[in-house]
């Protein structure tokens, strides 16, 4: 009887301790996430304008902002551009990052040097990355066009040509973010038990079979996490677009965030901007729901 009581007391104490530990996180999340989200949701149903609100209070306009957004051809194109950009970059970054991780993991010497060198692009601030590429791809003095000219190949005005601007943004993002995928997958590869490889080899499995039946199953959680993180990050793309193309030419590189900046933030039309932010959050949630569902289980 006494023993059961003691055990119950200990259990209660553990629960209290756990609750005490998670409370600060819950409070911070509530203040930093719930509060802005609730306010954004509220604003999205109003005509709130930052400067206009100095003279008169915002009025509730129902779903007008959402209707305006969803019927705006520029917004539709921005959504399509964002989805296209996300799919392309995530696939390319996953493939390249995984290939790099396999390559470095297979090296007998120089793993540390390779790891450091490959990580460099990811360590650079995005502004620096954008400026480096802007200089390299400059139609005036850029090294890329100079090399192409020397080889008698056609040169382009990379960021102003409707046929090349989007591709350049994909290329730059892949160049900068594939190392992130490499790092996560390289760490995951290190934890794959070596005896599984030995057993597979003894059974006569080739490299491809080892890859698909040993390596990938062992790191599939890391692959999923990587894909999720890259999807969310790619979907929020803003700085590179804003610095390099401003969404042009002809809206061909405009992403949802760039659209919101142009038509919501720059114009202080926070009602419309909030509606766009909510739409974007919903899309990201839908995209990442599979992983979140799995993580909750």
């Amino acid at each position: 009887m006494m023993g059961r009581k003691k055990a119950k007391g200990a259990e209660l104490q553990t629960k209290r301790f756990s609750a005490a530990m998670i409370t600060p996180t819950v409070i911070i999340l509530a203040v930093m996430t719930a509060y802005p989200l609730i306010f954004t949701l509220v604003y999205s149903f109003t005509d709130y304008n930052l400067l206009g609100a100095l003279n008169s209070a915002p009025e509730v306009v129902g779903v007008k902002n959402y209707l305006d957004l969803l019927t705006d051809s520029y917004f539709q194109q921005s959504v399509w551009n964002t989805v296209k950009f996300t799919l392309l970059t995530v696939i390319l970054e996953m493939v390249i990052g995984f290939a790099l991780a396999l390559f470095v993991n297979s090296l007998r010497k120089g793993q540390k040097i390779m790891r450091t060198l490959l990580l460099l692009p990811y360590l650079l601030p995005t502004v620096t990355v954008a400026l480096i590429w802007r200089m390299m791809l400059s139609p005036n003095y850029g090294i890329v066009n100079q090399v192409l000219e020397a080889w008698h190949l056609p040169v382009y005005n990379w960021f102003s040509d409707i046929h090349t601007a989007f591709g350049m943004l994909v290329l730059i993002d892949v160049w900068q973010c594939a190392p992130f995928v490499f790092l996560l997958l390289y760490a995951a590869l290190q934890s794959v038990p070596q005896d599984q490889y030995e057993a597979a080899r003894m059974d006569g499995a080739g490299s491809l079979k080892i890859l698909f039946y040993v390596t990938i199953p062992n790191i599939k959680s890391s692959l999923a996490l990587c894909a999720l993180l890259r999807t969310i990050d790619s979907f929020r793309l803003f700085d590179k677009v804003n610095l390099l193309t401003g969404g042009g030419p002809a809206n061909s590189t405009a992403t949802i965030t760039q659209y919101l900046y142009n038509y919501g933030i720059k114009t202080f039309d926070f009602g419309l901007g909030s509606a766009g932010a909510i739409v974007m959050t919903v899309i990201v949630l839908l995209l990442s729901s599979l992983y979140i569902k799995r993580a909750i289980k």
Binding site: V26, A34, N55, N140, N157, S160, F268
Partner: protein, 418 residues
């Protein structure tokens, strides 16, 4: 039970944070706006457009700081950041800024929202030495709200050698027809003709406005209703398409570098970008405002003047007015010329010594005398974003001139009706 508790906790925290964030009616106690520091020195904070515009002001500040025992914190911002920062600052009861740079095109939205203080009430008045045309947007009901500080006005920057190769000199370029002729000849000889900035809607519109004005068109009529599918606008756009086909879109730094190097022939520029000398490869002129040699001449130079204003929520309004008076002083402004300053003043721009050293100021003075401000409408940011997007579509072949301009007209009519 647990879930209820958690929900209750979350709700409590949210309510607390909402209360904390919205509870104070007296605004933020911004430390930078603190009038007095412990040692008796007054703290001031000013927000300026970064680059040469801020550099010339920073150069003048030490003398004022010493004389008035103040310390001035200068924030240098990009154009868009400055716009946003000044507007955000206006939402606080106690503002962080005591003086700010304002682009003329923001005047309407800022005065409508009461962002700027009435300078006349603070005892500041614009003097007769300032070029009169530059002051046209500075007043509301005879009260001054802004002072034109840096005389930015569009000019046509051109490579002298390329122009001479086409059979012209910088002085003989008289009309848009001449400009097209020179650019086409440059293109035929393997160089780039006309360079424009295609990296943002604002730049697309601003680079086009001098062309539009030369065709006698404008973006709005006298009632501020959009006129972007007028005959003059369509003609100007068709001409512009022909002109930009001789070159390409580049960012500002590339534009200046390529015209200076001779890789390209010309482009619309601002005086702050480039200082021509007798030996320099490039020079600039004020546009004549004529479409052809025989056509009527219009005022075709667009102002991008950086004005100075005092936020209405400044904590040091009187001192800010003194600082404004000091910075606008003819002698102080004259002193900034050597560092790249372009005062909107006859005493600086027509001074013999200045002209001997910087002959281009004659052109700048002419351009300032006949310049045009962008429309003073509070929706200007939305306006140029919409128009610039449609122009971008036209330039890149996504829409025809008529389609793009009709779509822009419809969208702008809706915007102005709101």
């Amino acid at each position: 039970m647990k879930r209820r508790l958690l929900a209750l906790l979350l709700a409590g925290v949210t309510v607390c944070s909402l209360t904390a964030c919205g509870g104070s009616t007296s605004g933020n106690n911004n430390e930078s706006a603190d009038a007095s520091a412990e040692d008796g020195t007054t703290q001031m904070s000013i927000a300026l457009r970064g680059g040469v515009y801020a550099d010339v002001i920073k150069e003048c500040l030490p003398a004022f700081e010493e004389e008035h025992n103040v310390t001035i914190d200068v924030q240098e911002l990009s154009e868009e950041d400055l716009h946003t920062s000044v507007a955000l600052n206006a939402t606080s009861a106690q503002g962080a800024y005591d003086l700010c740079m304002v682009d003329g095109s923001w005047m309407a939205e800022f005065t409508n929202a009461g962002v700027l203080a009435n300078l006349s009430e603070l005892g500041y008045e614009l003097d007769d030495d300032i070029i009169e045309a530059t002051t046209s947007i500075c007043y509301v009901d005879d009260n001054a709200y802004l002072a034109p500080y840096y005389g930015n006005v569009t000019v046509l920057m051109m490579n002298k050698a390329n122009v001479e190769e086409a059979g012209y000199t910088v002085d003989t370029v008289d009309s848009l027809a001449d400009i097209l002729d020179i650019c086409q000849k440059a293109q035929a000889s393997g160089k780039k003709g006309f360079i424009y900035r295609g990296d943002s809607q604002n730049n697309l519109v601003v680079d086009f406005l001098p062309i539009l004005l030369s065709y006698g068109g404008w973006v709005v009529d006298e009632n501020n209703q959009p006129t972007v599918n007028s005959e003059a606008f369509v003609n100007a756009m068709n001409y512009y398409m022909e002109l930009i086909a001789t070159g390409e879109a580049q960012v500002k730094d590339d534009l200046v570098a390529s015209v200076d190097s001779g890789a390209a022939t010309m482009g619309i520029a601002w005086p702050g970008w480039y200082t021509p000398t007798a030996d320099s490869a490039a020079d600039y002129i004020a546009l004549s405002g004529k479409a052809t040699d025989d056509a009527q001449a219009y005022n075709a130079n667009v102002y991008g003047i950086w004005c100075l204003g005092i936020p209405s929520n400044s904590q040091n309004k009187e001192l800010a007015a003194e600082l404004l008076t000091y910075l606008m002083d003819p002698e102080v402004q004259y002193g900034t010329v050597a560092s790249g300053g372009v005062p909107c003043r006859y005493s600086s721009l027509q001074d013999e010594e200045v002209l001997a050293e910087y002959p281009q100021y004659e052109v700048v003075c002419q351009a300032l005398e006949s310049g045009v401000y962008r429309p003073v409408i509070s929706q200007w940011t939305e306006f140029y974003t919409t128009l610039g997007s449609e122009m971008d579509n036209i330039i890149n072949g996504a829409k025809t001139v008529e389609e793009g301009l009709n779509d822009a007209q419809a969208a702008l009519e809706e915007l102005m009706a709101e």
